[in-house]
C-alpha cells in the first residue's frame, strides 16, 4: 500500500502574525516557517502505518514556492521515502491545490492520501474534501483515530456533537486532527539521511492546471482591538463589577 501525504509550509504556529502596513497581507519576510501542524500528524500516521508493515511507501508532496522544499525535506526526515514539490507562486486557493494534487494522484496512484484537516494560515479547511470530490473517493475528515482493516479504514472523526465512526473503502482521503497522534521529532541521523532522499520538482504550469485565484483579496487588516480592561483587587470587587457594571451575572 502506498500513502501520499500532502504538507503545507506556513508561518510557525508560535509566531505572532502581523498584518502588513499596506494591508495587502501578513508579514512573511524573516518570519519562522514550519510545517502546518496537522500535516505533521498526517506524516506521523503514514510513517506509523509503514512501520507496522501495512504500507510499503510514503510519498510527501507540497505545493508552493521553492522554499516549500524544506517542508518536504522535513517530512522525509521523519520517515517519508521520497518527495514531490509542485512549484507555484502567488496565492494558491484550495481549489487549485486540489487540482494539482489530483494530477499527482493520477500519476502516483496511491491507496491513501493523508493531509491536515486545515491549514493554520488561510484556515480554509477545504483541500481534502475537494480532492476527494474530484477523485470521487470517500473522505474521512477530522480523523482522530485510524484503523486499517484489509481494504477498508475505520476512522473516528471529531465532530461538534462528539465522535463519529465511519468505514471507508480504499482508495480514500483522510484529513487529520491534531489528536490523531503525537508527531515525532526528526533525529539528527535521519535529518542527514533525508538529504539524500529524492525530491522530484514539477511546475504547476506543466501539469495543465490554471492556478489563478478566483477570490480577490481586497485587504487584510488587524482585527478590532479589545479596549483595555482593568485589574480588580479582590474576588468581592470582581463579583460586584460583574453584577453591577457588566451586568452579566
Amino acid at each position: 500500500m502506498k500513502i501520499l501525504v500532502a504538507v503545507k509550509r506556513v508561518i510557525d504556529y508560535n509566531v505572532q502574525v502581523r498584518v502588513k502596513e499596506d494591508n495587502t497581507g501578513v508579514v512573511t519576510d524573516n518570519v519562522k516557517m514550519s510545517t502546518n501542524p496537522p500535516d505533521d500528524n498526517a506524516i506521523e500516521e503514514a510513517v506509523k502505518i509503514k512501520e507496522s508493515g501495512k504500507a510499503t511507501e510514503v510519498v510527501a508532496v507540497s505545493v508552493g514556492e521553492e522554499k516549500a522544499q524544506e517542508t518536504v525535506r522535513k517530512a522525509l526526515a521523519v520517515g517519508a521515502d521520497r518527495g514531490i514539490l509542485i512549484k507555484a507562486d502567488g496565492i494558491l486557493e484550495p481549489l487549485a491545490v486540489s487540482k494539482l494534487l489530483q494530477k499527482i494522484v493520477e500519476k502516483e496512484k496511491p491507496d491513501l492520501v493523508f493531509m491536515g484537516k486545515q491549514a493554520i494560515d488561510d484556515d480554509c479547511n477545504q483541500t481534502g474534501q475537494m480532492l476527494s470530490a474530484m477523485l470521487n473517493w470517500p473522505q474521512a475528515t477530522f480523523a482522530s483515530k485510524i484503523e486499517i482493516k484489509d481494504k477498508k479504514l475505520e476512522v473516528t472523526r471529531e465532530i461538534d456533537e462528539g465522535l463519529e465512526t465511519i468505514e471507508i473503502n480504499i482508495p480514500a482521503i483522510v484529513t487529520c486532527d491534531l489528536r490523531l497522534n503525537e508527531p515525532r521529532y526528526a533525529s539528527l541521523p535521519n535529518i542527514m539521511k533525508a538529504k539524500k532522499k529524492p525530491i522530484e520538482q514539477l511546475n504547476a504550469s506543466d501539469l495543465g492546471v490554471d492556478t489563478s485565484p478566483r477570490i480577490e483579496q481586497i485587504k487584510v487588516e488587524e482585527p478590532p482591538k479589545r479596549k483595555a480592561g482593568i485589574k480588580v483587587k479582590s474576588v468581592a470587587e470582581l463579583v460586584q463589577k460583574l453584577k453591577n457594571e457588566a451586568k452579566v451575572i
Binding site: V19, S98, D121, I215, P223, V239
Partner: protein, 317 residues
C-alpha cells in the same frame, strides 16, 4: 439571484445554527430557498418552513441520508445549485465536511467561515486563527459560502409558512458507511451556545481540581471549557477545548481560570462580550484581552468566588 441554504438538523429538529445561517444568507439575497436532506425528517422540514425568511423548502429523503454522509449529500445539492447564485451553510463540522465537495463539483473557489457579509460577492473572514481579518471578493459565478454561526444572530423562528417541495434523492455512495456516533450528553448548556463559559487551563494542575470549575459553572449555569494545555495534560476531555483547534465561543461572559492565553486559545474566545481572567501570573497574555483581571492564586480565589456568588440574591440564568 437566489440563495440555496443547506439546513443542518438531526432528522427531528433543526440545529440551532441553521437559524444563524439563514440570517447570513438573507444578507446575500432575500430570496432564500432551504434544502433539507435526511431520512424521515418531515418535522424538521416543517420547522424550516416556519422561518419567515425562508421562501421555499426543498425536502430530499432517503434511507442513505440518515447519517449526513457528505458523499451522499453533495450530489443532490450540486444538482439543485444550478438554479442558485449562492450555496450557504454553517461552518461547523457538518458544513466544513460537506461544502468543499459541492464547491469542487461546481468548480467554485469556496469562501470559508465568513463573519460578515459586505455585499453579495464580498465577505469578511478571519485568517491566521483570527489574528487578521481578510476582505475577499468571490469572482466565481456561483458562490459557495460557509458562515461562522456565532457571528450572525439567529433568524426569527416562527410565523412563516413556506411551501415544502420534494426533490428526488441521488444514488447512494457505496464506499463510505456510517458506523456510529457517540454524542456527549450533558445537563449543562452546550459549549458553543452557552451564555456563560467557565474555562480552566494548565493552572488547574489536575483533573480533580476541575471540580472547582464545575462548582463555579453550576452557580452560573455555565458550560465548561478548557485550554488545549489542560486537554493535552488529560485534565478534561477534548470536547471541552476552546480555541483554534477546538471550539470558537462567543458567550456574554467568559471566565478564564489558570489559562495563560496562548494565541490558539485567544482565537477561540476573544470575541466574547465580557472576559474575566484569574491567573497568578500578572504578565500572562490572557490579561491583555480581559475586561476584568484578577491576579490571584486560583485555589484561593475560586472558593471565595463561589462564596461571593452565594451571597448574591439573584444570578442570571
Amino acid at each position: 439571484m437566489s440563495v440555496l441554504l443547506i439546513a443542518e438538523h438531526n432528522n427531528k429538529e433543526l440545529k440551532s445554527f441553521t437559524l444563524n445561517a439563514v440570517t447570513a444568507a438573507s444578507q446575500m439575497d432575500s430570496d432564500i430557498h432551504a434544502v433539507i436532506i435526511g431520512n424521515n425528517c418531515g418535522d424538521a422540514a416543517k420547522k424550516l418552513s416556519e422561518l419567515p425568511l425562508v421562501k421555499k423548502v426543498i425536502q430530499v429523503e432517503a434511507a442513505h441520508y440518515e447519517n449526513f454522509v457528505a458523499e451522499n449529500f453533495a450530489p443532490v445539492i450540486v444538482k439543485l445549485a444550478e438554479n442558485y447564485s449562492h450555496v450557504v451553510c454553517s461552518a461547523n463540522t457538518f458544513g466544513k465536511n460537506l461544502m468543499p465537495r459541492i464547491a469542487a463539483a461546481l468548480d467554485t473557489s469556496q469562501v470559508s467561515d465568513i463573519i460578515k457579509v459586505i455585499s453579495t460577492d464580498t465577505f469578511l473572514r478571519p485568517i491566521y486563527a483570527g489574528n487578521a481579518f481578510a476582505t475577499v471578493k468571490s469572482k466565481d459565478p456561483k458562490k459557495c459560502i460557509t458562515i461562522r454561526p456565532t457571528s450572525f444572530d439567529p433568524c426569527e423562528s416562527s410565523g412563516g409558512s413556506a411551501p415544502i417541495e420534494k426533490a428526488e434523492p441521488s444514488e447512494e455512495f457505496n464506499n463510505t458507511k456510517f458506523v456510529k456516533r457517540e454524542e456527549i450528553k450533558s445537563d449543562r448548556p452546550e459549549l458553543g451556545t452557552a451564555r456563560v463559559v467557565v474555562s480552566g487551563g494548565r493552572g488547574m494542575q489536575s483533573g480533580d481540581n476541575f471540580k472547582l470549575i464545575t462548582s463555579v459553572a453550576d452557580k452560573l449555569n455555565a458550560a465548561i471549557g478548557a485550554s488545549r494545555a489542560a486537554v493535552d495534560a488529560g485534565y478534561i476531555s477534548n470536547d471541552h477545548q476552546v480555541g483554534q483547534t477546538g471550539k470558537v465561543v462567543v458567550p456574554d461572559l467568559y471566565i478564564a481560570i489558570g489559562i495563560s492565553g496562548a494565541i490558539q486559545h485567544l482565537a477561540g474566545m476573544k470575541e466574547s462580550k465580557v472576559i474575566v481572567a484569574i491567573n497568578k501570573d500578572g504578565e500572562a497574555p490572557i490579561f491583555s484581552v480581559a475586561d476584568y483581571g484578577l491576579e490571584a492564586d486560583l485555589f484561593e480565589a475560586l472558593p471565595q468566588f463561589i462564596e461571593e456568588l452565594n451571597k448574591l440574591n439573584t444570578i442570571q440564568k
